[in-house]
């Protein structure tokens, strides 16, 4: 198990290498540069700027020095926010983004699993159809539609939560963003849970347990629930990844100072190191979530053996 985890972590390195290289070269193909302004800069100033940031060196040398920086944990200077390193800027927003993301993933799991189980327990009843209809809409609707609508209803018409002018440390600002982010994930988990329970309830070991006289309720709670969680757990990795990148949208909808804005602003400004830094950090987070989900697998499903 421990060896398996180590091997998987080592396996992340080529993926990250591809990721860094891809973002490095692709963003440099983009038209326009970080120093383009309304007025063209005098040639000398432009040359000095390029020299200061090392853009006058051959591309491959820049690539080498960027990789060396990444290994040392330095993602380079921001081109737009003068005198700031990319790591400082992203680091300043990351705690908030992660708080929102993880809270949303937790909420989605805690609400989605029981609702999915309820739908399966009362399969083909009105409750089931209502829950599955709602979850369909929940899965389909994007955060930038749900967010403003929730803000309209619960922030303006019926102001129980605060939606504008974020003040750090006030949980009231975070409720709606977390719900917005959790909705599609929770809805998807509910659907997964219902479908996997339905399948498991038809399995032989359930019939055996019922034949031995175990009550339907006991079979459902003690025998069926745990194996039914397996697809949900395997979805948790992608789900956490979705929620972390999804916080990008939610932050922009609710005007929260997370790290998502650096990616969007960076892409607009052609702030190369900023975009590459965001891609790298969020890429690492995504890959780690998938890894943790894979490891959880073995704990839930004794049939899975790590080689």
């Amino acid at each position: 198990m421990f060896l398996y985890a180590l091997r998987r972590i080592a396996g992340l390195i080529p993926t990250l290498f591809v990721l860094v290289s891809l973002s490095f070269f692709v963003i440099r193909l983009a038209p326009g540069g970080p120093f383009d302004q309304e007025q063209t800069l005098p040639a000398q100033i432009r040359a000095n700027l390029d020299a200061a940031y090392g853009f006058d060196r051959p591309l491959i040398v820049q690539y080498g020095s960027y990789l060396a920086g990444v290994v040392r944990g330095d993602l380079g200077p921001s081109l737009r926010f003068k005198d700031f390193r990319v790591t400082e800027l992203i680091g300043s927003g990351l705690p908030l983004s992660l708080t929102i993301g993880l809270a949303a993933a937790l909420l989605a799991f805690l609400v989605g699993v029981p609702l999915g189980a309820l739908a399966a327990w009362r399969a083909n009843s009105f409750t089931d159809h209502a829950l599955m209809g709602l979850s369909m809409v929940g899965v389909v609707l994007p955060g930038f539609v749900v967010g403003p609508l929730l803000a309209l209803v619960f922030g303006i018409y019926w102001p129980i939560f605060r939606v504008a002018g974020y003040e750090p440390g006030q949980a009231s600002f975070l409720v709606l963003p977390v719900i917005t982010l959790a909705l599609p994930v929770g809805a998807y988990i509910a659907r997964l849970m219902r479908n996997s329970l339905q399948e498991i309830l038809r399995a032989n070991f359930i019939r055996t347990a019922r034949a031995k006289g175990v009550s339907a309720r006991h079979v459902f709670l003690r025998h069926a629930l745990r194996p039914a969680l397996i697809p949900v757990v395997s979805y948790l990795g992608p789900a956490v990844a979705f929620v972390i990148t999804g916080s990008l949208v939610v932050e922009s909808v609710f005007g929260l100072p997370g790290s998502g804005r650096f990616l969007i602003q960076g892409a607009i400004d052609r702030d190369y190191p900023m975009v590459m830094g965001m891609v790298l950090i969020y890429g690492v987070l995504t890959l780690l979530c998938n890894l943790i989900a894979d490891l959880l697998y073995g704990w839930l499903d004794p049939r899975v053996r790590f080689e």
């Binding site: 930038f144 403003p148 969007i264």
Partner: protein, 269 residues
Amino acid sequence: MTGRTRAALIVLGLLAALALLAPWITPYSPDFLDWQHLAVSPRFDSSHWLGTDRLGRDLFARGMQATRVSLLIGVLAALVSVCIGVAWGATAGYVGGRVDAAMMRFVDIVYALPYVFIVIILSTLFARGSIAALFIAIGAVGWLTMARIVRGQTLSLRRREFIDAAIASGVTTPAILWRHIVPNVAGPVIAYATLTIPQMILFESFLSFLGLGVQEPFASLGSLINEGAQEMESSAWMLLVPATLLTLLLVAFNLLGDGLRATLESRDE
């Protein structure tokens, strides 16, 4: 065909017809500024059925123009992703061995990366506002699942007798792929492509919402939602109109895709 699939088809047909015929239905063009009617609310007895925005532009005209953009980008981007996905998956599955391993490893790596990021990076490649560039950027990330599905199908097709017969009669590999593999994976490809369209529409709206997609004076449902969200305190309809249109499109396409997939699966059993 279930009632749900039929309802989805009807809604989609109506929306597409409205979007295409809008220039003949409403007297207003999407970029006409009506100074007498700034930010008026929807009224059926006025000529601005769905109201106007802050600059006096008719929201029905703009909403329909945005729906056209969404449908166009959704369908074209889905087409791009189908082409790449089918070619990639069929080649990997048919050739097999190391080629297959390398190709699918690449898919796995790109799969592990957040989609949104790839789209944002790719969208910076093109001049802002270019619709053609937008669907290429979006389509270029949508093909991964398609490639996996097609590969899986191809793996089982490869062992069938008619493929052996084609090899024995000297048909070249590209010809086998094109004449024998591709037609046989068409069913699942069509079903999944229908589910790809709403994803593509979503990506486009998302980029436009962030200001990285369709640019003024063109509207996209995403950019309309963004504008509406800023005005929602005083004029909620500016948000509700594009949000409803986008919701209808997404739900209808998803129901249609699910219906097609269910039909296919029941046929296979």
